[in-house]
């Protein structure tokens, strides 16, 4: 079997000297140092310190993936590259520019994105937004800029969807967060092209803790997407992001993730959206990389007729455990949620679907539909489902379909018996399997997704 690293296109590493970095390990001093570096106001430092207390107090989750390999004392919690966030591409430091070049940022920005952020380790190093969107009042800043420049707007929403104490890793993020995006789309404004963030970890034994807050005001529309890559190091790194989204009345937000971390990353992310009356939140979430992922993007359907959709793809290859799913909380009448989870396990990879559907009393006529499909391509691989349903309103409808099957092996034989080579048959089956999710993506992402899936499986043939 070929080594995975040889197929991972983004495993390169830059020799750069950070502008500043904290000593390894986590402590109150480290948190204070980060806050001081950012010249924050007191409220944010207080928030960080309270969150740190919560982090210390909470045990590691005793469910889900094995997290015992995270060496909290060995990680570097903040590493700032040299320079500032640049608005001109030409001013980004040469080596960093080259990295983002290889990730395709400038090409994508030219061709089809409404705005871009590039985060390198702890800080956003490049950002842009189309002029006409700026003129319409759209705000797309790094989270650090937003906290500095519009603290009142930030404070109003910060931590309202995901409090620091939501879980151990949201607490950690709240304590040491750095970077991430702040997006505000004003009433009635429709941003048709995606706003995209590129997250890059370059340092070894590092923790990236970006924080993203998106507000889609009444009747607005937007699509935010993120891609993540890291060098091929043998030491583990940690990525623990928090993403909070507020979708107001009649607004529509889509959030697309293409997670392609190298297989040394613990990816423990908390993502949740609050959705108001007749608002729509769509998560399209693809997990191809990382050693361990635990992530359950969810929605709180708070206004009448609010809708939430979660479409996810997880591909677990050798040595990977992806524990992903969704949480749908129905608080209001006529709310609707759809969760479609597709997982592919091969070469001993392991997938778990873990989901919660909660329909509160009074959410009359709420509907939820959960579909979990697992494709297991060989006998060494594994897939499990852990659904939880709490239905407290008797007028609610819940549909749940779970197909976990080894049909993959029979399909492989079928296509191969027609003359297709093993790799061609496998990629055909996998692409067909994920098609319902991929077709929900803009064309550029769909193409990229199919390409990444092919890459992730290349060399996986025993």
């Amino acid at each position: 079997m070929k080594k995975f690293s040889s197929d991972y296109k983004y495993g390169f590493h830059d020799q750069v000297t950070p502008g500043f970095k904290v000593k390894k390990g986590l402590s109150e001093a480290v948190v204070r140092q980060i806050s001081k570096q950012k010249q924050e106001q007191g409220w944010m430092l207080d928030y960080r310190l309270r969150a740190l207390e919560i982090f210390w107090a909470k045990p590691l989750p005793n469910w889900g993936a094995d997290l015992s390999g995270i060496k909290f004392d060995n990680l570097i919690y903040y590493s700032r590259p040299q320079g500032q966030q640049e608005k001109k591409w030409s001013q980004v430091p040469a080596k960093i520019k080259k990295t983002f070049d290889r990730l395709g940022l400038p090409q994508a920005e030219r061709k089809w994105l409404a705005g871009v952020k590039g985060q390198y380790d702890s800080e956003v190093v490049y950002g842009s937004l189309k002029k006409e969107l700026k003129q319409k009042g759209v705000i797309f800043l790094s989270m650090d800029e937003a906290v500095k420049e519009m603290p009142e707007l930030v404070k109003q929403y910060w931590g309202t969807v995901i409090p620091a104490g939501d879980n151990k890793f949201s607490a950690l993020n709240s304590a040491v967060w750095s970077g991430g995006s702040f997006v505000y789309i004003p009433k009635g404004v429709k941003v048709t092209e995606p706003l995209q963030a590129y997250f890059r970890i370059n340092a070894a034994s590092f923790g990236q803790f970006e924080r993203t807050l998106i507000i889609a005001d009444e009747g607005s529309e937007g699509h935010y997407s993120e891609g993540c890559t890291a060098p091929a190091f043998s030491e583990s790194s940690l990525h623990a992001a928090v993403v909070e989204i507020i979708v107001k009345k009649d607004a529509r937000m889509q959030y697309t993730t293409v997670q392609n971390w190298y297989k040394n990353i613990y990816n423990l992310v908390t993502k949740r959206a609050w959705v108001g009356e007749k608002g729509t939140m769509i998560w399209t979430d693809a997990n191809l990389g990382s050693q361990v992922t635990m992530k359950y993007p969810g929605f709180i359907l708070a206004g009448r007729g609010a809708r939430g959709e979660m479409l996810s793809i997880a591909l677990a290859n050798k040595g990977q455990h992806l524990d992903v799913g969704s949480k749908a909380i129905h608080l209001a009448p006529d709310t609707k949620s759809v969760i479609i989870s597709k997982s592919i396990s091969l070469n001993g990879g392991r997938n778990s679907y873990r989901g919660l559907v909660q329909i509160n009393r009074g959410a009359r006529g709420a509907k939820s539909k959960v579909i979990c499909d697992a494709l297991i391509l060989d006998k060494y691989s594994r897939s499990d489902t852990y659904p939880t349903n709490r239905i407290n309103d008797n007028s609610a409808t819940l549909e749940h379909e779970a197909t976990v099957s080894k049909v993959g092996e029979e399909q492989m034989f079928y296509l191969m018996s027609r003359g297709l080579k093993e790799e061609a048959a496998r990629s055909m089956i996998v692409n067909g399997f994920v098609e319902p999710v991929v077709k929900k993506l803009p064309l550029e992402y769909a193409v990229e997704m199919n390409r990444l899936i092919e890459l992730s499986m290349e060399g996986s043939v025993g």
Binding site: F413, Y414, L415, M416, S417, G419, E422, A424, M428, G432
Partner: protein, 242 residues
């Protein structure tokens, strides 16, 4: 010519084929009959190279080339085709696309999509499969009869040297059976060298597709070989007496 000699094979440690001898010459139709559990389907899978079965002993030769140890795709390229008893659905994989790639792999020649489509449409027409089937995912939501027709459609396109048809007649109504039989005969007309192993439980299909020989399997072995009159005997007396 396909020559199977002393073929022994097992699945999950259990021996199923206990020394099968069988010959199918170019252009010949051999009907394989036998009670449930006699190893007919296993024989089909083993010949096609299903990874779940392990060959313990014996030889499988197609035109002198040893097939044992080759993966299923390589056997297909040498000229074997298996129509499955229960064809599997493959979500999101369109029949037209998949079959064109398979065709190119087997024939080692490129074919323009429109040119291939015309070929496919002609075969579909013969089988009375609506055009819409060509763009649907393979076998997904197909009825039993439609699946069987699609298997024959694939055989007609891929033009193998030897086709193994595993209970191609099961689950077909009389009209569908006639259509499938006609298509098989048409395929033979187009390719007189096509050899067929026709695995079946019933005489019915043999009225339309006439076998040159009839072979009876029992407990993992060929126990009797004869002409067409053997079918009548079996219908009357069953397998017990053999």
């Amino acid at each position: 010519m396909l020559t199977v000699s002393n073929l022994q094979a097992e699945a999950e440690g259990k021996q199923i084929l206990k020394g099968v001898d069988l010959q199918v010459k170019a252009g010949e139709i051999v009907a394989v009959m036998g009670p449930n559990g006699s190893g007919k389907s296993t024989l089909a899978y083993v010949l096609a190279g299903h990874p779940q079965y392990q060959v313990k002993k014996g030889k499988i030769k197609l035109d002198g080339k040893e097939m044992g140890g080759l993966s299923a795709d390589k056997r297909a390229r040498v000229g074997l085709f298996l129509a499955l008893q229960y064809p599997v659905a493959v979500a999101g994989v369109g029949l037209n696309n998949f079959l064109r790639l398979a065709y190119q792999d087997i024939k080692r020649e490129k074919m323009m999509p429109f040119e291939f489509r015309e070929k496919l449409m002609a075969a579909a027409k013969l089988l009375k499969l609506p055009k819409s089937f060509l763009d649907r995912a393979v076998n997904e939501g197909f009825s039993g009869g439609e699946k069987k027709k699609t298997e024959i459609l694939q055989m007609m396109i891929l033009k193998p040297k030897i086709a193994i048809l595993d209970e191609i007649d099961s689950g077909l109504d009389i009209d569908a059976l006639k259509i499938v039989a006609q298509a098989i005969n048409q395929a033979r007309k187009e390719n007189p060298k096509l050899g067929i192993i026709l695995i079946t439980h019933y005489q019915r299909i043999l009225n339309y597709v006439e076998p040159d020989r009839v072979v009876v399997m029992k407990q993992g072995k060929v126990v009797k070989t004869g002409g067409r009159q053997l079918v009548k005997e079996l219908e009357r007396f069953g397998y017990e007496k053999i």
